[in-house]
């Protein structure tokens, strides 16, 4: 059964890659830096996994690992979105 689950997840993965290709090829070069930092913030979605590992309270080792992961992921998410917003604020047309 778990193999079927895995295949369903691979479906999702492959389709999302196609969506990503479609979307990103339309982003103009002028916005490539904010695209990188903005998509980078999205990759911080692993924060969801970090929250669960840090909060499950299974054993000391996994809790500490969870805390480290959570700090890393939060830096990625908060830093990524803020810096992207800072950049995009500057793109103006006179």
């Amino acid at each position: 059964m778990e193999i079927l689950d895995l295949i369903m997840q691979i479906y999702v993965f492959v389709l999302a890659i196609f969506v990503g290709f479609e979307l990103i090829t339309k982003v103009p070069p002028t916005l490539h830096t904010p695209l990188m930092s903005g998509s980078n913030a999205i990759s911080g979605i692993t924060i969801v996994g970090a929250l669960i590992v840090a909060g499950e309270g299974q054993n000391m080792l996994s809790t500490i690992l969870g805390l480290v992961a959570l700090i890393f992921a939060t830096i990625n998410v908060v830093g990524g979105y803020l810096v992207t917003d800072r950049m995009l604020k500057m793109f103006k047309k006179k």
């Binding site: 979307l23 070069p29 490539h32 999205i42 929250l51 990524g80």
Partner: protein, 460 residues
């Protein structure tokens, strides 16, 4: 409750997709980033209600520490330091994915995971750890802490392939016998080392490729974590980022007419050595111009194209350039900017700096949009760009940059090149543009030289 959180995760995924879609235009980009961050917030909040979470003190500590560090970094960083910033953030993202996978593995006393979970734990650790150390090396190179040169050592590729095989073999053994915890620790150690060794050979000006590629890895690592914790939202978000990084990587490679392999393996090294030797020899004649004459030249032009390069970022000259553009426009001169895809140290680097200096984005032109227009341009002003305007790329088959798409600035009536000296550019080769009849060298630090030029124009 499970159903509610699944629905929220779906909504978050949709917000990420719309967020990236809106990044497709400068008008909607900021709104897109906002949508994407709302998706992230929803995902975090609903996860806090997950029935698996029983203690909150570590979570609160982690969120506070991470938010403080993240916002400090984001608010303090200078626009010229953006490549380093993105490199660092990538590293944290990749590191987080690897550590989440480790935490999943160690939360049970005797690991006995389903095959799909243990496979993705190994992949998540491998990709995440490579991204982690690789990004920090990239950061070091961009910041000047680690050498920006192409680093070569004997058997480099053999060692990397060997290390990769070791990780895969250890992974297979771990899948067969999950109690061999040392194997997982070995995978962590070798992956961290691999990240260092993969990025170290890449030269400074190839960093746009390296940073884009690491961006892609951090996304794929997040996807793998999604497989580990069976969460489709992570798989989708990670895949979007993975695709984004790969596309940018390919655009950068195309901008240099090089294969990804060539960049990753630290190409151009032989050219660097040969060119430096040649450059040390004879001095070919070139013409130079001072600020007063240059002011008059600009004054008599009717259309000007400015070509910025990494040198503009180093000299922090973007504001001076904006002043120049403004004063020329006030005289009725048409001013545009031509930006090569690999100018600077990351994709779009020049655009962000010019946006910071309040240059309107509709004046920034990509290579293919402006290249046919150079013959109708009176004055091209090259500031801190070198290899991307070298005509040798068009005709000199012996040149290491032969075939690279360049800005055809030499087709314009007059080319002004601002440089500090006649030194060679990143590729280590002499630039024949500097010796053409229609090229004038304007020496000096970009910021000072341009400010001086602006003053001269004011006095006309």
């Amino acid at each position: 409750m499970q159903i509610v959180s699944y629905i929220i995760y779906l909504i978050a995924s949709i917000l990420f997709i719309f967020g990236i879609k809106k990044l497709g235009s400068p008008k909607t980009a900021r709104q897109g980033n906002m949508l994407s961050s709302i998706g992230m917030l929803l995902a975090v909040v609903i996860t806090l209600f997950d029935h698996m979470i029983i203690t909150y003190e570590w979570i609160i500590a982690g969120l506070i520490i991470g938010s403080l560090i993240g916002s400090l970094m984001a608010l303090k960083v200078q626009m010229t330091g953006m490549p380093q910033m993105v490199g660092l953030l990538n590293g944290f993202g990749g590191g987080a994915s690897a550590v989440v996978a480790l935490g999943e593995f160690f939360k049970v006393d005797t690991p006995n995971f389903e095959i799909n979970i243990i496979i993705t734990i190994v992949l998540s650790v491998l990709i995440g750890a490579v991204t982690f150390t690789g990004s920090f090396i990239a950061f070091g190179k961009l910041q000047g802490i680690v050498t920006g040169k192409v680093v070569k050592y004997p058997l480099q590729n053999t060692i990397n392939v060997l290390l990769f095989v070791v990780v895969l073999a250890a992974g297979v053994f771990l899948i067969v016998d999950q109690t061999q915890i040392e194997l997982l620790l070995g995978i962590v150690a070798v992956s961290l080392l691999l990240g260092v060794l993969l990025v170290l050979p890449i030269g400074g000006a190839d960093m746009p490729v390296a940073v884009s590629l690491l961006n892609s890895y951090s996304g794929i690592a997040a996807s793998m974590t999604g497989f580990v914790i069976s969460n489709n939202m992570l798989i989708i978000a990670g895949a979007l980022v993975g695709a984004s990084g790969i596309i940018l990587t390919l655009i950068m490679c195309r901008g240099m007419n090089r294969s990804l392999m060539n960049v990753v393996l630290g190409g151009w090294e032989s050219a660097g050595a040969g060119g430096a030797a040649a450059g040390g020899g004879e001095q070919k004649p070139h013409k130079s111009i001072d600020s007063e004459e240059l002011a008059m030249l600009f004054d008599s032009a009717s259309s000007v194209v400015i070509v910025p390069g990494y040198g503009m970022a180093v000299a922090q000259a973007q504001h001076a350039i904006r002043d120049l553009a403004n004063i020329l426009e006030s005289k009725g001169i048409k001013v545009r900017f031509a930006i090569h895809p690999v100018a600077g140290r990351m994709p779009g680097h020049m655009n962000v700096l010019l946006a910071e200096a309040q240059v309107s984005y509709d004046k920034l032109y990509a290579l293919e949009d402006i290249n046919d227009d150079f013959p109708n341009t009176d004055v091209v002003f090259v500031v801190g760009a070198n290899d991307v305007v070298n005509p040798a790329a068009r005709h000199d088959q012996a040149s290491p940059i032969y075939g690279m798409p360049i800005l055809n600035v030499d087709y314009s009536k007059t080319v002004i090149v601002n440089k500090r000296s006649m030194n060679v550019g990143y590729a280590g080769i002499d630039n024949e543009l500097f010796y053409l009849d229609n090229t004038l060298m304007y020496f000096g630090d970009a910021k000072d030289a341009i400010s001086k030029l602006v003053n001269e124009i004011k006095e006309l």
